[in-house]
Symmetry: D2
Subunit: 342 residues, 4 copies
């Protein structure tokens, strides 16, 4: 019997990607599609790539519209999920692609988002220690942010293995879809093509506390994070370049061994063969995360680079992967591990 | 029982796309992968996006390596398919992504390709009148060129309905993957980003006789084609802008009706709703072709624009769609109708 | 003594390009910079590439702010120039980058722009027959549209020489800056990268009557134009592919000779050597127009392709070139004929 | 009297950019243009954007061809400059865009380049402490690498002011022209569009010792550098994100003050106003370097981001700026401080 899924925020990039993946999921039937400013329009008018759903009409987001489904995906602006989720019963699996339920520390939430903390849900990054278990049977899932997904996959094995000092330095490049579909002048094609530019420098990005939370949990001690996001001239993809001082006895071999162990049984997180480095192009539309590591003895640091598709593994793919786990389905079901290249 | 498929030319763009689609096909098991200069390498080294096949090793292309499969896809440079195909028996379905068996007129072949004509196989564009029937049960398929796919889908309904004068003017923009993976200076990223440039102007492109063949067949009279291909700064996609003088009694309504009729039962060729125009972005990685039509009474012409992914519907997707038909499988089986956007 | 120049609409793409070129003009001193919604801001906040003017503050556009200059460039939305120009005396050279004064036929203006026709000024495309003479000493200049610049340069020599039938078919690809700086969803980087898409198909684009006007004047008879503009994934540049039926006695040689003659003494319009085709990349930031021609005897057509930078030769460069002529300065003064490549 | 300049390696990206800038330099007359594999061709065939030089013919690189000029620019592959320079007398100013004469430490040269060290020339980054003085009247100039230019401008003020611990972590994104014009598969447009990927991770990039040399000199103590270069989907530009642990008493104010002081009198290195961050798009084709700083007290680090055009300030612009100084001309003469945007 099919799982009936609704998507709130179906007109945006995250919602669109959830739908793209749901269309390929063999156990899911797509139910209500809701939106706000696009309500009343055909989906084909705002998401022309979702051809099989082109004739579906967007409803206004409401608890009524979302009722009667087995799974509800919330792809709403940050801060709007809590109210909607509160009206959905515990018999419904609610998968929140927004930030509302990611952080454990209410103070950090309030400092970065400026509103009361709504709570904490099981965290949809199954590769993290303990995360998969917490997702099993859960009725609520907080999908990680796209940057924290890339960064946590890159660094948790080093921290879990005690190979790195608790001071991470991260520079990540993201495709423009990470900034959403709202029309802003600095996101115009004319502005972003040919442009690399940073933003939120110096600790201001809202994904920083989420990274600190994940890396500190892996390390068993507080990890500081210097995080600089940059906007890259491509629609999708995150390349995260992460480094930390190596602990005294680290070698290229012990480093590699830690990642081989961490990813050995993972269906989507891959350590590349030696000498091959990740590229965002290889994971376009794929739920895979590609990782490579290096030890730089002259600088005394380990360097880990990861590549994901910010909308797939970084949002919608991670959401479906977690849904599969929560519902007891095979974790890889319906999810692409193959990128669309070139 | 699974269909066992081999791919010759697995290191190139066409071969890679065949493999990407085969990986998602529920009835196919991927057998031998062959190449020439990359033989001996892991597929992961040359096609890092095909993660599930990363550990497979490329064999040298030969009849021996390709033996023992139910289907063999040939993604070889033009002129090399005939020799390989000759060694494969009639019990094997041979799907040629190259040009060797597309043209009916030996003279035209020799004029554009400079070598003896190898023959003509059933043509893998099922949407054309009579094509689907010719593919059923065939052991040989000639996959159309990417430009002829986009152009023929755009114009055959108008010609079949007698709405256009037999003088087509076509300007098409193609992503750079259409030019292949061989490293040439003018295809460097530094050269193509920010660049629109034409090539093969004035009738010199090898796809021109193939378009003439298709459009003349639809029209029932010889159609001349002025074809200007241009290289666009994107990896994939073809946007074909096609026009012809309108026959005297054409109206916007009769024009639209002809396309509605032609595409009514087609799983992959779509006439967009009025007012919506095709974009290559909407078909990235998809087997769909999006078409829209206009009548310009002031200029006395009909204008038809189509968008496809040159590697999917324009090559590998068309190949698998035709394979499905030849083998008696559901035509849409395993093929994406959804693009990867944004 | 320096020429004092003001720019109205200095926050937009056209205004910014006028300023970029004025900064390099040896005889010009930049005076007032005005804008509307950005008034009060530092120019550096909205045009960070114009570093030498970063500290200048934008004033509200008004006759007072623009008074006291020798030249005033209007880079305003279509329909707003006439009111501003009316307040500037005849002793001031007014160069309008908008559409208001381009068309001679009031009916065509009203049909495409929906407002009363403001008049017709000398047309700033000096390469057209008679245009240079009309610009000398004029106090008013109507800068052509970017598409009409590319198309008219491509086709006027053929029409002036009587080589083409009066039915032009034009498909042009433009960089996204041609659509302006107003934030619209379909112009987001996420939407345009990887995308080729048409718009205004079937005669609806406002530049069509301007092309008809120019080509008909060159031909000495009415020329119909089928014009399809497409949006290309690049910030700047226009590639115009133009064709028309060849008159009976045309050959490759007569065709080439007509263009050699038309461009022989032109400083910015160039016929490329045989075998070399124009690319938008070669004219980035340059005032040059590159043109190449072909005769396709099988299709019975001539094909001409031109490449310009829509903001330079297509707008601001054409404006300064015309200003130089109007003021009796050397036509090339301060204007780049060199592109920024790769 | 004009300075007569020759360019060796005129067919490549660095040589082409030297020529683009020389064309705009009021005191320079362009003499011999030499190349190797392109010798005998018209420059227009390989550098179509350099229209005013299109008809010039490339000579084979040799001491004879380069003789008789006042300035010779060498834009040759690394390791080839020394031999050519040795044949040019001391009365000629030789400006080497290659790496041969940048490093002071012969051991580091040999370790990274694998050939004997040719010597050390005055270093063409005038903004560095003492560099401008060393360039005055010099007959030899070693133009810095593009990455070291971006990184040294970003970090030398902090090190010179004693604000940062001697352990720099740098992640830089470069446009593809930094990888040169030789056709390699991974540099194809199809591969690089949509792709962010790292290379030379873990200390292996040849620009690392040059950065260490510059930063250590500024700091007055050895600085370690963790440097990760990444390839970005754009033709030009470098965005360097640089950080280091802050010394104990650093504040946002002391940090900013150090950069204001360092760049106060610099014509091309700019500290942006607070709140504005650099973008490569703003410096396309410009000799400007844009820098912004942040203090992240939670991570205990300073973060400095710089943007340059790798071919302009990062190569050819720096070369001409240094030439101006060496010849006693105004430092800014003929150099653009304005980018080509959007």
């Amino acid at each position: 019997m099919a799982i009936r899924a609704a998507v709130a925020g179906a007109s945006g990039y995250a919602g669109g990607e959830v739908l793209r993946l749901l269309l390929a999921h063999p156990e899911v039937r797509i139910g209500a599609l809701t939106a706000h400013s696009s309500a009343g329009q055909r989906l084909g008018a705002v998401q022309p790539h979702l051809l099989p759903l082109a004739g579906r009409v967007l409803e206004e987001t409401s608890a009524e519209a979302l009722a009667g489904h087995d799974v509800v995906f919330l792809a709403l602006p940050h801060g709007q999920s809590a109210a909607v989720a509160a009206e959905l019963g515990d018999e419904v699996l609610v998968v929140d692609c927004g930030a509302d339920f990611r952080l454990k520390d209410a103070g950090e939430w309030e400092r970065f988002y400026g509103s009361p903390h709504a709570g904490t849900w099981p965290y949809g990054l199954p590769e993290l220690p303990g995360a998969r278990e917490a997702l099993r049977g859960s009725a609520r899932i907080a999908v990680p942010g796209c940057y924290p997904t890339a960064v946590s996959l890159a660094l948790f094995p080093a921290y879990a293995a005690g190979l790195a000092e608790p001071e991470a330095v991260i520079v990540a490049a993201s495709g423009t879809s990470g900034a959403g579909k709202a029309a802003k002048p600095h996101l115009l094609g004319s502005e972003v093509m040919g442009a690399m530019s940073p933003y939120g420098v110096g600790g201001g990005h809202r994904h920083t506390p989420e990274m600190i939370q994940n890396l500190s949990a892996a390390a068993g001690e507080p990890v500081t994070v210097s995080f600089t996001p940059t906007l890259a001239p491509m629609p999708r993809g995150i390349l995260a370049t992460c480094s930390a001082k190596a602990r005294p006895d680290v070698t290229a071999e012990t480093l590699r061994a830690a990642y081989e162990k961490a990813f050995r049984d993972e269906p989507f997180a891959h350590l590349l063969p030696e000498g091959q480095w990740p590229s965002t192009a290889a994971v376009l539309g794929s739920n895979a995360a590609l990782v490579q590591v290096a030890h730089d003895p002259a600088a005394g640091r380990i360097v880990v680079v990861s590549a994901i598709d910010n909308l797939t593994k970084g949002t919608a793919g991670g959401a479906l992967q977690s849904m599969n786990i929560a519902l007891g389905l095979p974790e890889e079901l319906g999810l692409p591990a193959t990128g669309v290249a070139p």
